[in-house]
Symmetry: C2
Subunit: 543 residues, 2 copies
């Protein structure tokens, strides 16, 4: 007879979890021990719970599911922000928290880590998850765990599982509640057929159909089918910052990253100018529209996502995102003329100029020149993200950034998650000095597990995005000798980069190295990327 | 006519706020600018919002009120844990968060930093504050701010003020809602008189009355009156870990820190053996009872706190904590015989032994030998706290630690808050390697503002408390070259301490220095303090 802990661990294993990120604490210590000793799951201790959350999120984006495990309140409340990020951007993370035993809750004195009442933490996480359960007795625990996992799979959003420590070792009683898997919400067959036939006919008669590929395609494992569909019909595919790399960006049908008025001209022409824009799983965020009202004429749009299906001016109820996409992508439809996409050079050559101070533009040119299909980009917020929009990512799903929720401090713990999920891929981490100060301690965990991201610090002494919004002394960040972090952490390599030649030389070294390599790139405080420059005007009006 | 921002800033100033800790972000940028430019308030940017929360908490414990200011979700959710700590331990912190404008909320597209709905953050902070308000229009804003501040003053707990960015600059309209200050909840005069007369009579006839002084005395500014009362009656005063330093610990009436079975023998004798134990504002936490049921016989106890008044087996309703204490402390009562408190040496001499590896016990002996009334102790969690319980703190309210909520990572940002609130006092920070890794980035802010705490890292490669509970590899922490942190941060001094002579030499240097000084004290992984040893047995049974 399995205990509640064993049951939960088995469910994690079956769902595809091979790594759990966390920090041990007394209320979760018993479960943590069992997890640590499990054969199929490796537990990765992080330096802080905040980072365990982000690592689990990044891991989930690659692996299809992620998990973090922490103790009551003092640990789990630090996961709240990362959990919110995963919720907003549909990343399926299992948040497991230990908590006081049910018995000790009755004893009447104040237990450490308590806030107002024992259920505060649960009440908080209800706001940040698609399902949240407290395993408060052994009879319902199994049922609740399964219900929560089902919810995670359906919504691709985080779930919260609270395990009171005196329940962890109780034998699970499942039979009573084993009511079988609840009926999946199925699409209405008539609505599905009618909508497919309308959309198919429209695509066939459209002059210049185009796809705007959203992040939900990746979350529901539909991206490869979407690409084949685009190839079959010969229609262009644009993405958003949040869904960047849904299609390999060297693909001739890739039409660029759409960001409203901040897009490249050809991307805007293809997306805004399409007479039949197929939006698959797109989250229309302020950043994806460059902080302006949508330019889309709804008479030219099919918009299907987890939230519903809209075709021109009408909607179809009860049509599932996966059902619709799967069937549409199989349809036999006519071939379109070649779209008008400028030819891109895939491998740009970077020739360093002598004694030339490094600039943001040249930094991104250099990164573009070394990117290959075995490297991924993990971008933090600010110019790390806006600049990275123009990088040519050469493999599907090899770009990660919280481009909607935009929480600083994601990229370094994110790289930990990415490389745990995909050990053969080397992440290039783009991070500003502000976000580096928030999350640099996690480089320690990266060193401990012999991972080897190349971390590029865009060191411009401040919050560059905010300088555009409202300049002031408060946007300044005190400069550290960032390259000395390897001495403190006792691992990895680093270099201070001031010129193009420095960058060229040390990027070569970094690429040759099998260790963590940190490039402290000293930039002018006013220097910004081309991507941010295109956004600047709209940004500055948003205060 | 003041704007909502100006009104809020004026209320902060009037409440005694001189420093606000925060990180700017776009939704709060306009208010942040005004706060930055205010003449009476200095804004301290921290490296991370987590630390802004802890710094504000520590500041509030000294100053009577603290404040942090952050942006929507990505910033403020990181304050959740610190806010929970302040709630649990009654520290009055104003949590100010910017948020999307009321108008832009209606525009229909997804705004960055959003989670499920616009009110998620507010719903979360309802669990962590005694009052939470969203200033969603200029007509109610003033009233809501005043109500929230009133609540903070009454409960001495955090409040949450959310400021949508398009309301910040609107002129405040107050008149409509100016219903005058609501009636304060007053004590019932008959209950108050009756209870005072019963308690006074009892104290006069008791053989060995004793005071257990709780943290609420400090929060409500009653501690000095309590000490005078004890002196007048000649009765001993014990404290708890959470209220340690409510009385100057060199005071002859100080009877030690009470921690149930982990207390010193004489403290237990005085507290558990009293026939009239006066508990003033005590929070009876699991740690204060050493994780065991209370030994107090309620027939021997007067327990008055914010939660109510209990005398022996009966309770008095509607008797305010402040009202009762203020009147009792003024009463003319008889003098008692000298209590049986062992004579303590205040200034212990530390003579380093040659080539002797440093131990935890000797480390605390050294700290005790240098402590004076111009130094405070800021202790993180684990042996930093349990060991520090035995230090002799020579000034009122000069010991700080989240001894109930016990969140790691408090002490370094806490020292920032303490020294901002009390610049003439030098903090000695006790922090384990785990908590150091969580919060070391805030040393940068400490350097930036020329503060000079002495930071003692208890470097034992792991979570020492957890090793007692359940040992395993997961309790190990990867060792950094901690003393090199000053090179990375480019400020302060440091030394690696391996022997008693190292400690002696570098403590002298630290005391002479006017800068941040970090002592990386290398301890054996199994070595623990006397304080922790007294708790070990009870601790290990709590898993």
């Amino acid at each position: 007879m399995a205990t509640v802990s064993e049951f939960l661990i088995e469910r994690l294993e079956n769902a595809g979890i091979k790594h759990v990120f966390g920090v041990p604490g007394d209320y979760v210590l018993d479960f943590y021990t069992k997890l640590w000793n499990s054969l199929k799951i490796k537990v990765i201790n992080t330096t802080d719970e905040t980072h365990a959350g982000f690592a689990a999120d990044a891991y989930a984006r690659i692996n299809g599911i992620g998990c973090c495990c922490t103790t009551y309140n003092v640990g789990t409340l630090k996961v709240a922000n990362a959990c919110a990020c995963a919720y907003a951007e549909r990343s399926p993370v299992v948040v497991i928290s230990g908590s006081p035993g049910m018995k000790e809750r009755e004893e009447g004195h104040l237990l450490h880590h308590m806030v107002r009442s024992f259920n505060c933490q649960h009440d908080i996480f209800k706001n940040l998850t698609c399902a949240s359960v407290v395993l408060d007795n052994q009879t319902t625990a199994g049922y609740l765990i399964d219900k929560a996992f089902e919810s995670l799979q359906h919504y691709k959003q985080p779930i919260y599982i609270e395990l009171p420590r005196d329940i962890a070792n109780k034998s699970i009683v499942y039979d009573v509640y084993d009511q079988g898997t609840p009926q999946k919400s199925k699409s209405d067959p008539e609505n599905l057929e009618e909508s497919l036939s309308e959309v198919s006919a429209w695509i066939n008669t459209a002059k210049n159909p185009a796809i705007l590929a959203g992040v939900e395609l990746a979350r529901y494992g539909l991206q490869d089918r979407m690409v084949k569909f685009a190839e079959k019909l010969n229609i262009p595919v644009a993405t958003t910052l949040l869904s960047k790399s849904t299609i390999n960006e060297t693909h001739p049908l890739f039409a660029g990253v759409y960001s409203g008025s901040a897009s490249h001209e050809y991307t805007r022409r293809i997306v805004d100018g399409s007479d039949c824009l197929l939006m698959f799983g797109v989250m229309l965020t302020d950043i994806s529209l460059n902080f302006r009202p949508s330019k889309f004429n709804k008479r030219q749009v099919v918009n299907v996502s987890v939230s519903g299906l809209q075709v021109r001016t009408h909607t179809f109820a009860n049509v599932g995102f996966s059902d619709f996409c799967t069937l549409l992508f199989k349809s036999e439809l006519g071939i379109h003329e070649n779209p008008d996409i400028p030819v891109r050079k895939n491998k740009l050559v970077f020739t360093p100029k002598k004694n030339q101070a490094i600039t943001t533009r040249r930094l991104f040119e250099k990164v573009n020149s070394v990117l290959d299909k075995n490297m991924s980009i993990v971008a933090d917020i600010g110019d790390s993200l806006f600049g990275a929009g123009d990088l040519i990512v050469q493999n599907t799903n090899h770009f990660l950034s919280p481009a909607f929720y935009t929480s600083m401090g994601f990229a370094i713990p994110g790289a930990l998650g990415v490389q745990m999920a995909r050990p053969s891929v080397r992440p290039i981490v783009l991070v500003g000095d502000g976000a580096f100060q928030m999350s640099m301690t996690e480089l320690s965990t990266i060193i401990q597990h012999n991972l080897n991201p190349i971390v590029i610090i865009m060191n411009n002494d401040g919050y560059a995005t905010e300088r555009l919004l409202r300049d002031g002394e408060f946007n300044n960040i005190r400069r550290w000798k960032y390259y000395k972090v390897v001495d403190l952490l006792d691992g990895g390599f680093s270099a201070e980069i001031r010129t193009e030649e420095d960058l060229d030389k040390h990027m070569t070294k970094a690429l040759e190295s099998k260790s963590l390599y940190i490039l402290d790139v000293v930039l002018d405080g006013k220097d910004i990327s081309d991507g941010m420059r295109r956004m600047a005007d709209a940004l500055s009006k948003r205060i």
